[in-house]
Amino acid sequence: MKFTFFPGCVSRGGAPELYQSTVAVAEKIGIELEEIEGWSCTGAGALQESNPLLGDTLNARNFALAQRMGLPIMTICSTCQGVMAQAKVKLEDEEYRAEINEILATEGLEYTGGIEVKHMLWIMVEDIGLDKIKSLAVRSLDGVFLAPFYGCYIVRPSAALEYDEHPQRKVALELVIKALGATAVDNDGKTRCCGFPILTINEKNSLAMVAKHTGEAQDLGADAMVTPCPLCHLNLDGFQAKAAKQMGKQINVPILHLPQVIGAALGMDGPSLGLNKHIISAFDVAMKMGVRV
């Protein structure tokens, strides 16, 4: 199984452990990844605010580069996934695509439409299959309580994300968590906003969201939260202490990237999954998962 790989800015910047664990897990499962040479940021929704045309053109460029390689794209970030899915829908309009291709043409690029873009989470459920993951697991995560946290862009708008065609996407995180033997801790916050986009604009509200979701997960007895979105990770992990302080509550919930949890079940060790790189220590949950830290 082979994909073109779109790692996204954050896994190449602030969350190197996501990149590292993705590559390790993919290799173990037998997913061949070929990184798109010269990929750019998707715009992350922010660029779409100030310059939607540039945003769509950069996505079309990424799609065109991937199309040259003749493979579907794998993403590892809810935000990248969502923004690309929305761009894809807009670029299905032939008139608009032609307008954008005109800009790309001078660079010798053309996007012909119909690219497939899939988050690693969906690939686990839809392409690899839960049975295969189960069969590859060498450790059961039995007794480990993991609270799923999706990230807005992989949940909404559900039409662009093709939820109707793939209804299991709605519960993909829970399915993977359960397949690994762990218990999925259902929480109200799981499809809500982590607060990251307004971190600089209204830090108080952003932190209130962090505290609300991490606090809820903690109250429900979660050992950790699991997210397919490195931006959620950034906020929930990096700002958890500050958020807890603002709320006046003790909160200490490690935030894990999806491939880190899969890797744990596949028998990998802490350093190779980057479990030591979180701001909220993942030591206890790593121990509980039987991972050598």
């Binding site: 045309l53 906003c193 600089t200 604009i201 969201m209």
Partner: protein
């Protein structure tokens, strides 16, 4: 088929009122809406169940409730599509508003926010003898926004309102956009200044809940984004709200960084958004940065250039050149 309808109830007449769940077994058919189901409960089983409803055809906006945790318009939602494996469905009052009784919520906070955006057209005066002229495509665009029936589904599921009751919220801001986008209204400058304030357009997190919840395709979040674009384009002063200033800069810096280096550089983004000399705000970030450094995950200070970055710069330059041309 029989549905087990779990309704969240609340009776303010009790001495110490407390919300509780009540299950009703209701015979429903394939085409039954959630509203049909609730009306059946009210009319045939339990007349004390309170809910608002009127038109039955998604135009009056009375019947927004939460079905299985998400806001919907009851008359537009088929109950069969929301039944769990054991044929249950949960129905609760809309969120983010105080409950009066059962599924009836207090909409005063909702109307207060609508009022706060000066929700009426302010055209140039004196009025012409005939109609104000307006391009049809502008009017058609406004039809989509005017489609708002003020049901409050977006407000119910807004993630910002959950943590901050001062946020104007999606319905009021979509209403605000309706006037900014109306070529007959001449108070854009005043309006955008007003909506730039604390609790206004910049406090939206872009989570998309309101777009999903809206039964009429108004897509409030997109209207909020359009407000931001208009405010930035018109270089409306950000006033006393730092958040708006950060919002402007974040957007601009983001665009600059991507246009220049193709990928996001978080260090630059944060420093430039907050301003290089914004010492108090920077100090606030120090503990996080120290912690990150300790975990050896500080983003690289010198971002390696993306292969093909020249291509990206040329594309960005071409788009802004085209924009300048179009503006002329």
């Amino acid at each position: 088929m029989q549905a087990n309808v779990n309704v969240r109830r609340f009776n303010p007449d009790e001495e110490a009122p407390k919300s509780y769940n009540q299950e009703y077994q209701v015979e429903v058919d394939e085409n039954f809406t959630v509203l049909d189901t609730l009306i059946k409960v009210r009319e045939e089983i339990d007349g004390s169940l309170a809910l608002r409803c009127s038109c039955r055809a998604s135009i009056c906006g009375s019947c927004a409730v939460r079905v299985n945790g998400h806001a919907v318009l009851a008359c537009k939602t088929h109950v069969s599509e929301h039944l769990s494996e054991d044929d249950s469905v949960s129905i609760e009052p809309a969120g983010n508003l105080p409950v009066i009784k059962d599924l009836v919520v207090d909409l005063n906070p909702f109307w207060d926010k609508i009022r706060a955006v000066e929700p009426y057209m302010q055209p140039s005066l004196p009025e012409p003898e005939a109609e104000y002229l307006a391009p049809n495509d502008v009017m058609l665009h406004l039809v989509d926004v005017m489609g708002c029936i003020m049901c409050g589904a977006c407000v119910s599921d807004c993630t910002v309102l959950e943590v901050d009751k001062n946020f104007l919220g999606p319905a009021a801001l979509a209403k605000a956009y309706r006037f900014v986008a109306d070529t007959r209204d001449v108070e854009d400058d005043k309006r955008l200044r007003m909506y730039n304030a604390y609790g206004g357009m910049w406090d939206c997190t872009r989570c998309g809940e309101c777009v999903t919840a809206c039964p009429k395709g108004v897509a409030p979040m997109e209207r909020i984004m359009a407000l931001r674009e208009k405010a930035m384009e018109a270089k409306i002063p950000t006033g006393s709200y730092d958040g708006a200033a950060y919002g402007y800069r974040h957007s601009q810096v983001f665009e600059d960084i991507i246009s220049h280096s193709g990928r996001l550089d978080e260090t630059k983004l944060v420093i430039k958004t907050l301003g290089l000399f914004n010492i108090p705000k920077m100090l606030g970030l120090v503990p996080v940065a120290m912690n990150a450094a300790f975990r050896r995950k500080m983003p690289p200070l010198l971002h390696p250039a993306v292969p093909g970055v020249g291509q990206i710069r040329r594309i960005a330059a071409r788009i802004s050149a085209n924009k300048r041309k179009a503006a002329k």
